[in-house]
Symmetry: C2
Subunit: 293 residues, 2 copies
């Protein structure tokens, strides 16, 4: 049983689906079938119960996975560490975040650091008005974005958290009350994005029409979170943002107002499909582990 076979076995043990396992490994699904079959003959036991509809680990398969998983991880990790050291390159994972989300990542990043001791983590700010640029240029490996994201070259991973949406406005603003509803946006100027963010993504956070059908007018066009703050502080525009911002970006003249009927916004990790690495996969796994609890 070579490392390659172990990789195939462990991938199938995670995906429990020959097609998806094959896709993750960039091989044909026949190859996965052949490899698993060969190992089953070698070991002398069925590792997966499978019908053409469902794939499941047998008890022996479970035991084998539990034996192989940590060791396989240590080997790939060890080779990566030594290779990086030999070539003088540093192993790093760069995350792109917006606003307050970066402050709330302690759980998954802690796990990730623990399991990848030799890896440096870096954070960069992503502009809400142009959420994919840093990803596509390679400046960051992973972005944390609100859904939906439908881009052919990007993969959307597990949801990190789901947060309420709040309206951010100057205390002098006429709509500064304990709570508002989406309909109120029809009477406001809302800050718009000064960048190439796709419309479907923008309007999932800031709709173009109120529930009754009135248009929601865009006011200042901004590209960074700092610009949002100044635009709001100036008193003319309202901005919509995730609730965590209220905890981390308190500003003297600015109020955060709940929007009673706004849907939660879901934040997920996103990466370039073609640039997926082991580190990215590990980080995704860490996030998935955390959101399961």
């Amino acid at each position: 049983m070579e490392l390659r076979d172990i990789e195939i076995f462990l991938t199938l043990a995670e995906e429990l689906h020959f097609g998806r396992a094959a896709a993750r490994l960039f091989v044909s699904q026949a190859r996965v079938s052949q490899s698993i079959k060969a190992q089953e003959r070698r070991i002398g036991a069925v590792l997966f119960e499978r019908t053409s509809r469902v794939v499941r680990l047998t008890p022996i398969g479970i035991e084998l996975r539990d034996q192989l998983q940590p060791a396989y991880r240590q080997i790939t990790e060890g080779i990566a560490v030594v290779t990086a050291k030999a070539q003088g390159t540093r192993r790093m994972l760069t995350l792109g975040t917006m606003g307050a989300i970066a402050q709330t990542l302690g759980g998954p990043t802690g796990d990730f650091r623990e399991r990848n001791p030799g890896v440096e983590m870096h954070f960069k700010e992503v502009h809400p008005a142009d959420p994919f640029a840093a990803l596509r240029s390679g400046d960051i490996d992973i972005a944390i974005l609100w859904l939906p994201v439908h881009e052919p070259d990007l993969t959307v991973g597990p949801i990190l958290r789901s947060t309420p949406v709040m309206a951010m406005m100057a205390r002098t603003h006429p709509r500064d009350r304990p709570s508002i509803v989406l309909e109120d946006l029809g009477d406001c100027l809302v800050v718009g994005p000064n960048g190439p963010i796709p419309r479907y993504m923008e309007e999932s956070l800031v709709p173009y029409f109120t529930p009754s059908g009135r248009p929601v007018s865009r006011g200042a066009l901004v590209s960074t979170f700092q610009e949002v703050l100044t635009a709001v502080a100036s008193g003319t525009s309202v901005a919509l943002t995730q609730a965590e911002a209220a905890d981390f970006y308190q500003w003297p003249g600015i109020a955060y107002v709940p929007i009673a009927d706004a849907p939660l916004s879901h934040w997920a990790i996103v990466w370039r499909t073609a640039a997926e690495t082991d580190l990215i996969r590990d980080f995704v796994a860490a996030v998935a582990d955390h959101s399961h609890r």
Copy 2:
């Protein structure tokens, strides 16, 4: 880097000699050279400093070995455990010992058990008069014998311990004194082996001639340790044995007498070269670790 390459790398890292590593792996030494070279190109660093005279790990090589060693062990171990379970076979290692040696193996066997949790250990008695039979028949995997052992089909491992030789005799025997010398054997009947033990091995423990050249006569011919005890108790014959026997086989009418000028007898582990398994290699390693301390 496949498992096979890791195995080659780790073997060379132990042996620090291409020829010996190749022999242990049953491949040509060219293959070892090719594999190491390929890994060095892949990783981008030299793993072994080598002249045609000495092979040594580089710092990077040391780090790689430390990363890979335990994980490789866990993988082979895990596959072996699962395979054994699947096939309903038990994993066991059977040791053949003589007399008191079995009682003094706590150290290495403890280590071995700890590192191979799923493996049963068994002990069988080996007849001194026919020390290789059980090994060659497959009844035992490893024998613990005194040196020298020069048999073409057997491999001699590290020395387990070196013990003084004592004379065992009836308390009524004329030579029962606080201490004797080899020359005294010329006046005794010494028990001889009733079996096919090679002469070179027998006489290394019980010489055929005294230092002055007088013959040492054989008395009773025995095959088991029990027969030795009864032959000695009967009062006619003297037996030579390792000192530990005095601690474990006290008998009312029997005395153990030091032989002042007898050389130490060295006890080593021996196995059939063709039947060498991972378990045997592990046990050898455990013994080697212990005798280094």
